[in-house]
Subunit: 514 residues, 2 copies
């Protein structure tokens, strides 16, 4: 069966992923190791994600601002001294000038900085430093801010969107008078992430708390949303951290309480990144390329005029332009509908396939007969094929216009439901020992990329800590498994821990992960 | 006369500027040399500028994308080899890891990069490298892209918004089949900048071409918009460059023309930055702080409830909230009106003055009597005082609602006209020799900051080049003057060049500048 990509998910999921990124015109590798070029179609998706999330961040009372790209090394040193497991792979700026020596450009040794600057891997330290200056009384609290920024982490193995040296994200940072308020904030933003993932990206997720070993270094609690990719692996799609008074103590972020006493602030931080786009691709893509949920499709309805360099071309183009302007006047998924006429000088069939690979939700092909009969020929990207056959249906233009917004909403819902069904059908429960689980995942661990779809396991555990938890981690690691999160809102558990045999206190998700 | 700032423009313009930046809550210095923290009010202004400009960039056919923050040093070396006057002050990443040695964090010498990476000062080289890969036929042209990004230039003397080590901007990059198309693009984007500056920021500007010595290194032509600050100095507020085939030749950006021949692309680049915000402050600010044009005011109408911890407070608050939601339902300057109720626990008079300093266009103070009588008491920030007295007027709520959009439009227009009148009244002409000009600017050059308002000079010149132009530059420099631009759309000139005495070919603007 011929598909629009040269490789299928089943053949090799990792290669299929790279093929979609490239064939859907989302991004490409750059000459800078581990950094990518986000192309207009990929960037358009990110702008729509940003727009939807930014609106929710503002509606929940946060204000955007912007902090420096660079962080003095002394700030990082202070963080390293109070935080264990702190990652040290980061880009370090040591000089501020280039110089031509014998016609060859090199770093000017005389421009060495007294204190090296680190390109921000995240901004807790520099924002905490500002909080210290901004907060003096309980009346100044809470402080609720967010920034959209690029950050850099020197990753050894990179994969476009999923793990890149530079990536784009938002990072929220807040300071509160007490634990209750800070924890409420942490969970509120987790819920915002769940909402954006499910309602906008059509990514069903499980929201829960990370176990101790998976916490952000320096956090009291880390919560995440986890999404299931089509290869059964988990993708951590967003995190929200309650940092207790840890950062506040290290940085002296204090306030005078109503009683007059000096108290430490309770802080939080939370972020999602361009990684979400990788999640969209691995959740909704198929062997013909990407399928974009209409809410984040830069162009929702693409009109392809079938031109033949004949006189009737003018009528076809006029029909297409009129249709576009009619569609642009409609509202779909609570925003103005985004239609586009592809007038590029290329064969109509090639253009159709380009849009199939890019995942435009609806493609309309308009030939002279369609224009003459006031008809549109429609392809739904989410239901492209019936067996091998491409499904296209002819509809009167007026009828299509009347139903277009509802059709986009249906595609959005249908992609979500397809993914939701996959998630729900593939969380296995009922295990009473780790052996059963490792039997299930079994040898596939040896060749991860090619391994069959396994899904996740949800199992009772006793929440071991310290060395006992390290042992659990090691046992899981042998099968390339990791603890994902403890889903929120669980019913009480009456079972034994699959690791320790002691009474379980909750259920935890176990999976292979990105 | 008491004003809301502790320093006036007349006392010391530079210090007054810093006071507005700080007292209007726009930005503050950061612990990183030359980098600033843009606070929520300042960032809100930038988001509105971005929104308006981004819309125009897209309407003119450009697509946004994103290129890496880092540029390999070899790319910079190549540019340096074909471009003279290329600035070499830039942040250089040389290592990718920190390491604790004897408990002290330091740069890990083993993590030295084989090739240093430069933090982008601008992206011509890395984007040109992509163009080389993207372009093969004339059918691929034009390529019209833009990115919103942070860039870093290691500046020795920095001033918030005007010149900072890191700043935020958009950079457009385009490739075309011929000179005519590329020049048209260059001028089209200059016109977009003029439009945004005048219609959105209320900054009247002069659009023109930079003389040879002020061109972007590597450009055939550089165009700019220049705005006049209240101290009479010029601020270059945006530039648009026609790069000819210079970058294309250095980078091998070629295409097969319709005839089958390989030809070099003609490229352009154009950008505006957070510097625009400095221009807004120095154009519209007064001795009570900032005055924001409504189109870029994050909150256009601020409602200050006058609360007294008495039972009628509830009525006042209810009145304010209702008023806000009524205002939010209106459209002003083609966008939903942005109203805000300031409920912070602080004295109403303090809140009023905070909003005066921040430059909210309209401030409404609502006390129990206003609420009871269905009246609003209104302060227009652009006409705050009559002599020493604060001008506030009482209006029926319904009347105010009916006129609010028109009032905001009037404030927008009035700020523009005030600045336009200043610009037009302060471009001096009629000079026949440089001596007359230097007499006029005279000794003030010795103490620039405290110098009296001088404005600009528009004088005929013969467009000298090379060594002759260098001499002109040196003569101007002695009076801290610079050549700004040759205004577009000039009538033919019949005069002698003030520098060379030869017949003039055009008039050029001369001014002190930021």
């Amino acid at each position: 069966m011929k598909r629009a990509l040269s490789i299928s998910r089943e053949q090799n999921f990792a290669e299929w992923y790279q093929a979609v990124v490239s064939e859907a015109d989302m991004a490409e590798t750059s000459p800078v190791r581990g950094c990518m070029i986000v192309k207009p179609w990929g960037w358009g998706v990110w702008e729509l994600i940003q727009g939807a999330l930014d609106k929710r961040i503002k509606e929940t009372g946060h204000e955007n601002c912007y902090f420096p790209l660079f962080i003095p090394m002394s700030f990082i040193a202070q963080e390293a001294s109070h935080v264990e497991g702190f990652a040290k792979e980061m880009a370090v700026v040591t000089h501020h000038r280039l110089k031509a020596v014998d016609g060859k450009l090199q770093v000017d040794p005389e421009s060495r900085l007294e204190e090296p600057l680190v390109v921000r891997p995240t901004s807790e330290t520099i924002i905490g430093d500002a909080f210290r200056r901004w907060v003096s009384s309980y009346r100044d609290l809470p402080i609720l801010i967010n920034q959209w920024a690029n950050v850099v982490r020197w990753e050894m193995r990179t994969r476009m969107f999923l793990r890149t040296t530079e990536f784009l994200w938002q990072e929220g940072h807040t300071a509160h008078a007490d634990e209750a308020d800070a924890l409420q904030e942490t969970l509120k933003m987790l819920e915002v992430y769940r909402e954006i993932a499910e309602d906008v990206l059509a990514l069903p997720v499980v929201a829960g708390e990370k176990p101790e070993n998976e916490r952000f270094p320096g956090a009291n609690n880390t919560f995440s949303i986890e999404a299931m990719m089509q290869d059964g692996k988990a993708l951590q799609a967003g995190t929200s951290h309650y940092l207790g008074t840890n950062f506040a103590k290290a940085q002296g972020i204090r306030f005078q309480g109503a009683s007059g006493d000096l108290e430490y602030c309770h802080t939080t931080s939370w972020g999602v990144s361009t990684r979400l786009i990788g999640g969209v691709i691995m959740t909704h893509g198929d062997d013909d390329g990407l399928r974009l949920p209409p809410a984040i499709a830069p162009k929702q309805i693409v009109i392809v005029p079938m031109l033949r360099e004949k006189p009737e071309d003018a009528d076809v183009l006029a029909f297409c332009e009129k249709l576009k302007s009619e569609l642009d006047g409609l509202v779909a998924l609570k925003a103005p509908l985004r239609a586009h006429v592809d007038k590029k000088p290329a064969r109509a069939a090639n253009k159709r396939w380009d849009w199939v690979r890019r995942g435009a939700p609806i493609i309309l092909e308009i030939g002279p007969r369609d224009a003459a009969n006031d008809v549109v020929t429609l392809i739904r990207r989410d239901r492209l094929r019936d067996g091998d056959r491409i499904v296209s249906t002819a509809t009167l233009r007026a009828e299509f216009l009347a139903q277009a917004p509802a059709l986009l909403a249906e595609i959005q819902r249908s992609l979500f439901e397809e993914a939701k069904a996959r998630l729900e059908a593939n969380i296995r429960t009922g295990y009473t020992s780790f052996d059963e689980i490792s039997d299930y995942f079994g040898k596939a661990a040896e060749d991860d990329e090619a391994s069959a779809f396994k899904g996740w396991v949800r199992a009772p555990w006793s929440r071991p800590t310290g060395a006992e938890l390290e042992e659990v981690e090691a046992r899981l690691k042998a099968f390339k498994l990791t603890l994902r999160n403890v889903p929120l809102g669980q019913a009480p558990v009456s079972a034994s821990c699959i690791f320790t045999g002691r009474p379980a206190v909750e259920e935890i998700l176990i999976a292979r992960a990105y």
